[in-house]
Amino acid sequence: MKKYIAKRLAIAVIVMLGASLLSFLLLYFAPGNPAHAILTAQLGHDPSLEEVAFFMMKHDLNNPFLVQCSQWLYMITHLNLGTSFRTGEPVLMEFLDRFPATFELAFTSMLIALLIAIPVGILSALKQNSILDHSSRLVALCGVSMPNFWLGLVLIMFFSLKLGWFPCFGYGTASHLVLPAITLGTGLAAPLMRLMRASMLEVLRQDYIRTARSKGLSEHLVMWKHGLKNALIPVITHMGMQTGHLLGGAVIVETIFAWPGVGKFLVDGIYARDYPVIQGFVLVIALFFVLSNLAVDILYTYLDPRIRYDVENKK
């Protein structure tokens, strides 16, 4: 067990190193001169050659590849992701400033998704092949097939422009949170519901359920204690794996609703070619993703005692 965790940690470190390298390469090989793009945006006209040269010198963009690369690795190991070309603030601070907003959105969406997916998934499994089952599966499939950004637009059109119930963009109050959280949450709920249903059906076929029934336990106890507890394991794992996709979805939803989170800032950074922001944000998101997957993996071994990670025997 300890060996397994140590091995997973070692892999995570290698992956994080690779991710930092990749985030550097991505920007290094990107076509177009960032200095030119940034200066055009800042000055409002085409910069002169001297201005471009000065900018490149100031931001160490003239150094050879390996020097730039090691500079980048040195910087990130000292928690320095550079400063944003646009705002002049440290990238890490920009990220941390915006992370609470993204977290608020992601957390509420996840909660909405769970509140829809778990009860519907269980009901659907218990009443397999009923009308309820078929219709909830069809709705879930539609949910998977619907573009998230389109759902957001339709919600804005209906609930804020037609009915005027909720503001269509912005941040601050609870009513600002409703539409973005529903948009992101329904996208998450659909696959979770399908998984919950499949997992519940699978568990109900197991021998230990038959044992529980044959020893005379009430149906209630069988379902909730023996059934649900085991059926939830894959759902929880899936949720953990979803953090990355949650951030990905948040990028689009934040852009639509002008939600001042990490995703919106990243997209604006891409439009403005704010290289340090793109590089830094992508890296921090990747690190966050790796760490959350690691946490899920470790949690999983505690949740499901049947799983034994035998490092010796596993190739």
């Binding site: 499939l141 793109i278 992508v282 990747a286 790796v290």
Partner: protein, 279 residues
């Protein structure tokens, strides 16, 4: 051919196939079906609501939305087919080489795969497409560059098990070259799970292309792409809701059809393959 028979009994899957064939024929015959030129501007007929002449109304430049939606099937279907082809070629080549030759090649590619999997795919695609500059070709490159990862893992896994089989050993004993063994014995056996995975992924790919175009990183105006149409219509959504409804519905129906087929295929497959495809 039992797969085909099982699929034939699966009503949603058959419906999905019918829809895709229907849309594909729209894509092919768009110039003959579309009532108007999708690019023709008519500033006197701006933002008209649906009518007999314009069943889906007109957009802010007076272009016929129905014609643009019909031409949009061309962009979406051909783009996603191209992306899937890139992904399959990359995934199969890299996965086969890694699995068959093993050793250092395998270690290096699998570490690269691990690193790429550390990034949420849509964010990486967004960054690559944004850096390369907004265009459909760059969206294709961006999606192709990140999506092969999962495929190469699955291919590598099945190559690893196939290369231990007796028929491969027999072929090697008979003196067949590596390329011959890969071509005759390995590839035919890894192809079918990859094709199923690709069908399951078609919907995701169409959604990603539309999302990137919606963010302004994909199809550029005046190309009639569904995501880009939604982006162009966004400022007018209060007065002209038809601009928002129809392109979105088209994306949803296409993706739904592919998901029907994908689900049907997955259910029709033997359990061993089902296990391989669960991510």
């Amino acid at each position: 051919m039992s797969l085909y028979l099982k699929l034939k009994k699966d009503k949603p899957a058959m419906l999905g196939i019918v829809i895709i064939i229907f849309f594909a024929s729209i894509a092919v015959f768009a110039p003959y079906i579309a009532p108007h030129d999708p690019l023709e501007l008519n500033l006197e007929e701006r933002l008209l609501s649906p009518s007999v002449d314009h069943p889906m109304g007109t957009d802010n430049l007076g272009r016929d939305v129905l014609s643009r939606v019909l031409y949009g099937t061309r962009v979406s279907l051909s783009m996603s087919a191209a992306v899937v082809t890139i992904i399959m070629v990359l995934g199969i080549t890299i996965g086969t080489v890694a699995g068959y030759f093993g050793g250092v090649v395998d270690d290096v590619t699998m570490r690269v795969v691990d690193v790429l999997l550390a990034f949420p795919s849509i964010i990486l695609a967004l960054v690559i497409a944004g850096l390369l500059g907004p265009s459909l070709t760059n969206v294709m490159i961006a999606l192709g560059a990140i999506w092969w990862v999962g495929y190469s893992r699955i291919v590598r896994g099945s190559v690893l098990s196939i290369k231990e089989k007796e028929f491969v050993e027999a072929a090697r004993a008979m003196g067949c070259s590596d390329t011959y063994i890969i071509r005759r014995h390995i590839l035919p056996n890894v192809l079918s799970p990859v094709i199923v995975l690709a069908t399951l992924d078609m919907g995701h790919i169409i959604l990603s292309i539309a999302a990137l175009s919606f963010l302004g990183l994909g199809a550029q105006p005046p190309i009639p792409e569904w995501g880009a149409m939604l982006n162009e219509g966004k400022p007018f959504m209060e007065s002209a809701s038809h601009l928002m409804i129809f392109p979105g519905l088209m994306i949803m129906i296409t993706v739904l059809a592919f998901n029907f087929i994908g689900d049907g295929l997955r259910d029709a497959l033997d359990p061993r393959m089902q296990e391989m495809l669960i991510k």
